[in-house]
Amino acid sequence: MFADYTWAELGSIFAMQGFSGLILFSVLLLMALGLAIIFGQMGVINMAHGEFMILGAYITYLTSNFFSTFLPELFGIYFFIAIIFAFIGTFLLGAFVEWSLIRHLYKRPLDTLLATWGLSLILQQLYRTIFGTREVGVSLPDWMMGSYSLTDAIEIPINGMIVMGITLFITVGVYLFLQKSRKGKQSRAVVQNRAMAGAVGINTASVDRFTFALGCGIAGIAGATFTMIGSTGPTSGQLYIVDTFLVVVFGGAASLLGTVASAFSIGQAQSILEFFLSGSMAKVLTLLVVIVILMLRPQGLFSLKVRR
């Protein structure tokens, strides 16, 4: 298929293709980070993860409307403010959901699946009632939707760069938070030994609520970010749920590094396969490979061998 092209053309295509893989990696990672915290750290299966993402997207939509109506001169930078709002909004909803639902179900992980599925139905209908059944178009400042020409042939999409930037920022933030901050250490302590953490004076209930809400907040950021590349509608959240869970499980649930590695390998694999095969087959093949690897190595890519 490459016979008709010059080396320079091929080179630039492959450069852009590599970049596509990186964008896909960032998208997958950003989707999965919130879930990696909730599922990986707490063992809660949050089927409403996609709906939290879409809440972030709707908040971005509202913010964009607000700015274009009242503060049009600041429209160019509203997006970053929207992300903060999205985080706050989903964080609060997450805390509320933890308080009203999840905290009663920590001993029954499979039941969290059913309850959060019910929650996702309710949220979908809520969005439909409030925002209408149609998708909403989130208008973005023009500078974000353009591209940057590296050479004549290589054009780098700016929204892709922004997604990568946000992903990098959030990932590092989550890592530092879990490793360095007091709250993060407490959260890890609770994961490792709930009873002991409680005994040494950590308020496990508040740590749980914070951890869950944080995961939801990151989902909100992801949703806000994806308004640049995807659609915002009542049921758009469901598009993400399988990919998200697979990334987390494939990475080895309890490991942040694993999630990164898994998003990277799935992203690159799919991106390369899509280039050489038709889109649907690429997707099927990627999923199949992931499942086969999971069958051979059920603990995921990164997981410590521990005493059981």
Binding site: L304, K305, V306, R307, R308
Partner: protein, 248 residues
């Protein structure tokens, strides 16, 4: 110092490492027929890990475990059980949702394959055997109660009973009297004396009075290694052991 004579279990050079940490490091010991061996040692010495390795719950990194001349390290858990090794866990591990009768029945050595279990028939032989064991473990009155209703000590006995019904040649008990009252402990000691007549027993225990009461030989472990081995008196007078237990 041992000859290759009638060892039921010979463990040689056994090592397992978790991410570089050697929880059990080059451990060797041998158990004779009808011997009661107790392993003692501080927390984290690798005692439970040794039992895990023997019964196949954890796979060893190096070394061999021979049971009646048969290599166990390559076998799966249920194959090890069929070879004649029974193991009781530290926390009583029973089926809370089933009755005492059903708990014992499930360990009865018949119908262990899928279709065997489907067609398993609760005949008089099974009922008799369950009754016999229940009497031995002081639970004959409670056969029809749900296991979740038993006291902690009774649960420990039930688990021992579940092992007895399999009639293993090597019985491994992880802290069988932990959490028991004084009278329960006495009953348990008597029970152990009774049931060890035809088999070898490997026990992990912290309670020194209890150890003294039952042990033929004692192995002391420390930081994944065997520190000392011999009779209770021998071990108690070993300076290395005193150092570990009292040194800091």
């Amino acid at each position: 110092m041992y000859q290759q004579k009638d060892f039921v279990l010979s463990v040689e050079g056994l090592t397992v490492s978790f991410d570089g940490f050697k929880a059990v490091n080059d451990v060797s010991f041998y158990i004779e027929e009808q011997e009661i061996r107790v392993i003692i040692g501080p927390n984290g010495a690798g005692k439970t890990t040794i039992l895990d390795l023997i019964c196949g719950k954890t796979k060893s990194t190096e070394g061999s475990i021979k049971f009646k001349g048969k290599e166990l390290t390559k076998l799966k858990e249920h194959e090890i059980v069929h070879a004649g090794v029974g193991r009781k866990f530290q926390n009583p591990s029973i089926y809370e949702d089933l009755t005492v009768f059903e708990n014992l029945e499930l360990s009865y050595p018949r119908g262990k394959k899928v279709f065997g279990a489907l067609t398993f028939n609760r005949d008089q032989e099974v009922i008799d055997k369950v009754n016999e064991i229940a009497e031995m473990i002081f639970l004959e009155e409670l056969l029809l109660s749900k296991a979740s209703l038993l006291s902690h000590g009774q649960k420990q006995w039930l688990e021992i009973g579940m092992l007895l019904i399999q009639d293993p040649e090597l019985l491994m008990l992880d802290e069988p009297v932990a959490g028991m009252s004084v009278s329960e402990r006495k009953q348990t000691a008597a029970l152990l004396q009774k049931i060890t007549k035809d088999r070898s027993v490997l026990v992990i225990e912290h309670d020194m009075h209890f150890v003294e009461e039952i042990a033929d030989r004692v192995t002391v472990m420390h930081q994944g290694k065997v520190l000392s081995e011999g009779s209770m008196e021998h071990v108690q007078s070993d300076p290395k052991v005193i150092e570990v237990y009292l040194g800091h």
